[in-house]
Symmetry: C2
Subunit: 434 residues, 2 copies
């Protein structure tokens, strides 16, 4: 998140060292997001930083908040906005993950969401006593069972299980609290959870995998999907594909919302926006650019000429992490005939997401087209830098979308589930007993 999505955002005017881990500053950003009537604040996560001896380490602000301590804090300073954290299904236990989100859901009165990731990075596995990451397929098998266990745990308390009858001394209706007795390939978990159901019944499940197994997992379990489509054709194809997979899991089209990522730089004129982008690019240290590109490709580019082409990369099946990201980057380089420098500049901000640089009207035109033609149900907005880049989005882009009737002027509900217009999935245990 901070100081921004652009790799050189920390050098940009207005960003400050004092903002790092500063709760007052973070609270102000969260309140700004709420003023903008966003559905949710989303914290990405990764369970490692780069090797301190690697290229670009010194030029990159390579730190990462732990999502839950921050989301808990933001719950205390906001009223309506959803609070979404990332948690790995590979380097965690489902009981711990279920509890964290359920507890955040209680404290925020129904505003939490879980972005499920499978953590394929080598340096992540090395922080968890594994010499190698699990293979892609195993990660997804584990993730599927992990999500199943977590949702069962969330369902282990029916909504009216707490009786709290002070005079009779009955605190809980035990018929509405369920041991889950899960026994599977990866986990055996007895339950119940230690935390009762919240106002939105259960946290929202979010995913971003675009590989074949990622899409199947999403179709089966996700309520929101983040994706990184570059063109409207690709986005529509992904939309059609993923929505089409829902029916075989007994789900309806509206049970899953698709939100492509957009990295945004706004100017009051097109020139101003382009100038900001150029300023940010000019601030990218070569080492930092090369480091980020190497990380995204999972291939160390150190020593290759910056103004030459990409070298031949290992075949895609060898990629342990985000296969779809690597594939997309190779395609972009090929189609545009990019040098290494051009390619790292291309992802310096957007990290492989689509980039929109322009006036509020231009950006709104683009988002409107995607939204109206089944390329997107909404967007995962990535501000280039905080606070100013985000302030521009709230002050300039959101009002333009509101004027067009494309975006809410006020929150209509209280929970994240209501903001997203999602139904509560049926409870595992109520279904069983019917």
């Amino acid at each position: 998140m901070l100081p921004g999505h652009h790799v050189s955002s920390w050098r940009y005017q207005g960003t400050k060292k004092e903002h790092l881990f500063n709760l007052k500053f973070l609270a102000a950003q969260a309140k700004l997001a709420e003023k903008g009537k966003f559905d949710m604040i989303f914290l990405a996560d990764q369970l490692n930083i780069n090797d301190p001896t690697s290229t670009g380490f010194e030029q990159t602000l390579n730190i990462m908040y732990e999502p839950f301590t921050l989301l808990g804090a933001l719950a205390a300073v906001t009223e309506k906005i959803g609070l979404v954290g990332t948690a790995s299904s590979t380097h965690n236990e489902p009981y711990n993950v279920a509890r964290k989100f359920a507890s955040l859901d209680q404290l925020s009165e129904g505003r939490s969401g879980w972005n499920v990731v499978t953590s394929g990075q080598l340096l992540e596995s090395k922080n968890f006593s594994d010499e190698q990451p699990l293979a892609h397929r195993e990660r997804y098998e584990r993730a599927e069972e992990f999500v199943e266990v977590v949702t069962k745990l969330w369902d282990s308390w029916e909504e009216d299980a707490i009786v709290y009858d002070q005079s009779s001394g009955k605190a809980i209706d035990s018929s509405k609290v369920h041991s889950i007795h899960h026994k599977g390939e990866w986990f055996s978990v007895r339950g119940p959870l230690t935390v009762p159901a919240s106002k939105q019944h259960r946290p929202i499940i979010i995913q971003a995998g675009s590989s074949e197994s990622g899409k199947e997992l999403a179709a089966k379990t996700a309520e929101v999907v983040f994706t990184a489509a570059q063109t409207i054709e690709n986005a529509r194809e992904f939309y059609r594909d993923l929505k089409g997979r829902l029916v075989k899991y007994g789900r309806q089209r509206d049970d899953l919302k698709i939100m492509p990522g957009v990295f945004i730089i706004i100017g009051r004129t097109e020139e101003e926006a382009k100038h900001k982008k150029q300023q940010l690019l000019d601030l990218v240290p070569e080492e930092a650019g090369l480091a980020r590109l190497s990380e995204h490709l999972e291939f160390d580019l150190k020593g290759y000429p910056l103004d030459g082409p990409l070298p031949k990369l290992p075949s895609i099946e060898k990629v342990s992490g985000t296969q779809s990201r690597v594939e997309l980057l190779k395609k972009v380089a090929e189609e545009n005939n990019f040098t290494i420098r051009q390619l790292y500049q291309h992802i310096a901000g957007a990290r492989g997401q689509r980039e929109l640089v322009g006036t509020p009207e231009q950006i709104a035109d683009d988002l409107q087209l995607w939204f109206k033609t089944e390329a997107a149900d909404g967007f995962n907005i990535l501000p280039s830098h905080f606070p100013d880049g985000f302030q521009d989005i709230v002050d300039l882009l959101i009002p333009e979308l509101q004027r067009r009737g494309l975006f809410r002027r006020e929150y209509e509900g209280d929970t994240l589930r209501e903001h997203l217009g999602l139904k509560t999935p049926p409870n595992h245990f109520i279904r069983l007993s019917e």
Copy 2:
């Protein structure tokens, strides 16, 4: 924590269903603790609730916050008070635990602490794919290495590692960020952590084990120890014993603070205090009392006559959980010739901790004696019920301690380490490179 430490606190006047998971209410309690100039707020934790079909399940408010979401929220609404959470060294990975506390430490500007527990309950292990808890000895071996890994990760960022030189483009001084390359019996962890060092350098480490392995672990690693001594003689013996063990780990007497637990009920007169206690006892449903006692003894007492003696219990080596607690309870029952009912009433509030029921002066006399005669460096205060029981402590007991010059009137420092008067332990990596 809520609605109080007494098993029937939820039925007591002034406690309310609406307080559960209510962030405004919780924030008010935290602010009250800060008004009382407490060192820290401590959240206990356990990774299970009882079986919904077990005795007393319906009569016990058997729920548990996840500590980090709540501590994050409390960081946002307090300024000075320490924020201490419990995390298990058995059902977690050290990288995740190190990160959570480091992140809370950043967001709270140096106010976090970790209460290390080893989770010996059978129902806990069943939530984590284990049929049986690890044996006592293995839990402590794992805990020792776990703490070592966590502290190395906390040390992986030296304090001035973030340079943030916007003009030169140097964000980080890589010579001050260390991969830890830990390889041990239980864990292999590469590091560095994703979160830099905070204002107090590293979170405070707290423990409560009173078994032989517990005391050794504490002497080696803990900065605060919670204990459950019933008599001043036992407390002094524990104090002498534990402080005496420090030297072999190269530590000094003041590097570890000993804080016995005290469960407190205050009245403006002694009669009022006793009356409150009796009211609370009268509200204990038999099933709930029996359930808590069974849980503490790790032995199901269902079916035994409430007004008869304790049956013969399995020998202490068979206890997988908190051996010292079981031992203490058996001793109390024996010495007082308690029936099952008397024993569950005895622990209904104090949970095996010492109980103080009286006027502020009486309670202050007792605490003063312990504090002045090497039985305690401080106390872990357990209020019987929230909000009123805690309000009494802040409004009546704290001022009495302040009048006697035994307790601060204002915070003198900003960090938990400063409140406790603890030095920063030497950094693993700076030592290595000297």
